[in-house]
């Protein structure tokens, strides 16, 4: 929205020849300036897209052809394509149940750290309490603790607590390791929200919780949305934690992994399952993308 306005202002007034000439030159210069970036982005886009398209087409190959035919043949011979693999995968109880497991883990492992992290970030940003700054520094320090370090201790802790191999156990692990970044990101975003807004709400009769829900959350939406995407992708694609802290609680990553055989993998299962597991975070990304808006604070205090 802002960009539209800006470019509208930048355009030369219509009908003035003198005005038009430098504008063309300027446009070419601008294109040339941007060209390297545009080319780089195109290369990255293609490099990412080719294997993805390859995976999609492989997943659509006829089961009889899948071991022998390369996916690029489908571009010339569309007769090789069918939905048969997807039908089989979705009929496969093990795969669908692990998909649901992943959904639960990812939704829980995204919501919980965001809720807890946002509350903590609110406190760090706006409430006065002793040791606040030191606590925050410690939280930031936790960012660099590697997950691998915690796997074995958490494994035995979970055994003692009886939450080894449970969805809740995995959610809690993702929450614990997602929190430092969540708090760090949200706190830094929240401190940019003018204090007067909170004070105005307080005078309007709002409690801290209401200020949080009615003022801070809506204004923090861009940060929360980006955090949600990061965290969702992370938990959705996790294999390591699920392998370590689960046995029968298998998310889709583990399910796909277990389909890999030493001699001849089950491509007809792996390809569609992998594509499904790739499409869902993508859909989440596009769903949240519209919250990446700039200038949400405009008109408030200036």
């Amino acid at each position: 929205m802002t960009t539209t306005e800006a470019s509208g202002l930048a355009t030369a007034p219509p009908g003035t020849r003198e005005g038009a000439r430098p504008a063309v030159g300027a446009r070419i210069t601008r294109m040339l300036t941007r060209a390297p970036i545009a080319i780089l982005l195109a290369v990255i886009g293609i490099a990412w897209l080719v294997p993805t398209v390859g995976l999609l087409l492989t997943s659509l190959l006829l089961p009889s052809e899948i071991q022998s035919t390369g996916w690029w043949h489908t571009i010339t011979d569309t007769g090789l394509l069918s939905l048969e693999n997807y039908r089989r995968v979705l009929d496969d109880g093990a795969i669908t149940s692990s998909l649901w497991t992943t959904v639960w883990i990812s939704v829980g492992g995204t919501l919980l750290p965001i809720i807890v992290g946002a509350l903590a970030a609110y406190a760090f940003a706006f409430l006065e309490f002793p040791g606040r700054d030191w606590l925050f520094i410690i939280v930031v320090g936790l960012l660099v603790v590697p997950i691998q370090m915690a796997l074995i201790p958490i494994f035995s802790l979970y055994n003692d607590l009886g939450i080894f191999d449970t969805i809740i156990g995995l959610i809690l692990f993702h929450t614990a390791f997602g929190l430092p970044f969540a708090i760090f990101l949200l706190r830094n975003f929240f401190v940019g929200i003018p204090r007067e807004l909170l004070e105005a709400a307080r005078i309007d009769g709002a409690s801290e919780l209401r200020i949080f829900v009615r003022v801070i959350l809506p204004l923090g939406l861009p940060a929360i949305a980006s955090l949600a995407i990061f965290q969702f992708l992370w938990t959705w694609n996790d294999l390591l934690i699920a392998l370590t802290l689960g046995r029968d609680t298998q998310p889709i990553t583990v399910a796909i992994f277990s389909q890999l055989r030493q001699f001849g993998s089950n491509i007809e299962i792996i390809a569609p399952a992998a594509f499904i597991s790739l499409v869902i975070p993508l859909a989440v990304f596009f769903a949240f993308q519209r919250y990446f808006v700039q200038g949400l604070l405009a008109g408030s205090v200036k």
Binding site: P194, E196, L197, E199, A200, A201, R202, I203, D204, G205, A206, S207, R210, R214, V215, P218, L219, G295, L296, L297, A298, G299, S300, V301, K302
Partner: protein, 407 residues
């Protein structure tokens, strides 16, 4: 609605900044009191303590006979208009105004009615569905007002609500706020550094300086009888002329001896300021309002005593001429920041200040033939002179200065 009482209020910030020092002030039910003073004198801090946004270091604050020192902001039933407006950027104008009502769980129909009423009064009806970013500065200011009035609070607090508006809109909005306040009859504390706002809006004006309350009075009283040098210099534009002199005995009569000139003290003056007699033979500061000087050719009393000087600046404003004269009189050091005149406006006179003395400023008849660079004489209305004790800066009026007098 309620009265507000500051009872010996102090505010000391963590780093030992004393922002408000022993402030005692009674604000009556429905009264419009303006807190005025130079930037950094503690006005905002005082206001925020009433709002409950700032802890009170010591003293007692009462709203409607209830001590509220420990009452959180949300339970004080006050409304505040912030200097920055602080509108909720994600809510429409309607929801901004309705925010407080919704929190109070006011019925839906009632919310609708009250918000629309407030919007009508403020001329905001066409904008109710807009977000703040799509409003002009003046409209945002009115949304902030709407948010305050719709709650029907016991006290309005306003912190420089007009400072972000352009000059013309400021004058207009000033009048609107005054009218609104008297219509609603809600006790109001209004903070500004602009003495024109203070004079035009307040039932009473409280002048602050460095955290200390200097004087509280109706605007005209403040102007006519400033309690001390600070108030004298701060209130009025152009500022009061202040010069050092002595009260001297001249036969039976008393005169103010300014060195270059001697101004006789009329019987009327002495009657109004009996304490002056006690100052005979002592140093005083003599104050002359610019409008109490006149071109002798146009003065009511052509025989009035005169001050002489060279005209260093002549500003013809149409309705009057503001003349700046270098007189050689001994001036009083007053930090220009502590004069209530906008430093930018005052900037014109800077050239004159370089000469090491404050010029005598006079507002005289537009028909005066006075011209820049020439010597001129000005007639002084001696009955309107002000006198201050240079020792403590207090005005010399009906009694000996209160400070130092024990009960």
């Amino acid at each position: 609605m309620a009265n507000v009482t500051f009872d010996g209020i102090w505010k000391v910030y963590g780093d030992d900044t004393v922002a408000v020092r022993d402030l005692s002030l009674d604000i009556g039910d429905g009264e419009f009191v303006v807190l005025v003073g130079p930037s950094g004198c503690g006005k905002t801090t005082a206001l925020r303590m009433v709002a409950g946004l700032e802890e009170i270091t010591s003293g007692e604050l009462r709203i409607g006979d209830r001590t509220v020192n420990e009452v959180p902001a949300k339970d004080r039933d006050i409304a505040m208009v912030f200097q920055s407006y602080a509108l909720y950027p994600h809510l429409t104008v309607f929801e901004n105004i309705a925010f407080g009502l919704r929190l109070q769980k006011v019925e839906k129909a009632e919310v609708e009615k009250r918000v629309t009423d407030a919007a009508r009064v403020l001329g905001l009806e066409p904008y109710l569905r807009r977000k703040p970013r799509a409003l002009s500065g003046g409209q945002r200011q009115r949304v902030a007002m709407g948010r305050a009035i719709v709650r029907r609070p016991r006290v309005f607090l306003m912190d420089e609500p007009l400072s972000n508006l352009d000059a013309k809109l400021r004058v207009q909005t000033r009048a609107e706020i005054s009218r609104l306040q008297s219509d609603l009859g809600v006790t109001t504390i209004y903070v500004t550094h602009d003495q024109v706002e203070a004079m035009t809006m307040g039932d009473r004006v409280a002048v602050m300086r460095k955290g200390v309350l200097q004087q509280v009075a109706a605007p005209q009283v403040l102007y006519d009888e400033p309690a001390n040098l600070f108030v004298a210099g701060f209130i009025g534009s152009p500022s009061m002329n202040l010069f050092r002199g002595t009260i001297a005995q001249d036969g039976d009569a008393l005169v103010a001896d300014l060195g270059e000139a001697r101004l006789p003290l009329s019987a009327a003056t002495l009657e109004r300021r009996p304490a002056l007699r006690a100052h005979a033979g002592r140093e005083v500061v003599v104050g002359i309002r610019p409008e109490d000087l006149e071109d002798p050719a146009h003065a009511r009393d052509p025989d009035a005593p005169r001050l002489r000087g060279r005209v260093v600046l002549r500003e013809a404003l149409g309705s009057e001429i503001v003349a700046h004269l270098a007189t050689g009189l001994r001036d009083v050091d007053i930090d220009p920041e502590e004069r209530g005149v906008d430093p930018q406006e005052a900037g014109i006179a800077e050239g004159a200040a370089v000469s090491g003395e404050t010029p005598l400023v006079a507002r005289i008849s537009p028909r005066s033939g006075i011209s820049e660079g020439e010597d001129a004489e000005l007639a002084v209305d001696v009955s309107a002179l002000h006198f201050f004790d240079p020792g403590n800066g207090l005005g010399i009026s009906d009694a000996e200065p209160v400070i130092g007098a024990s009960a």
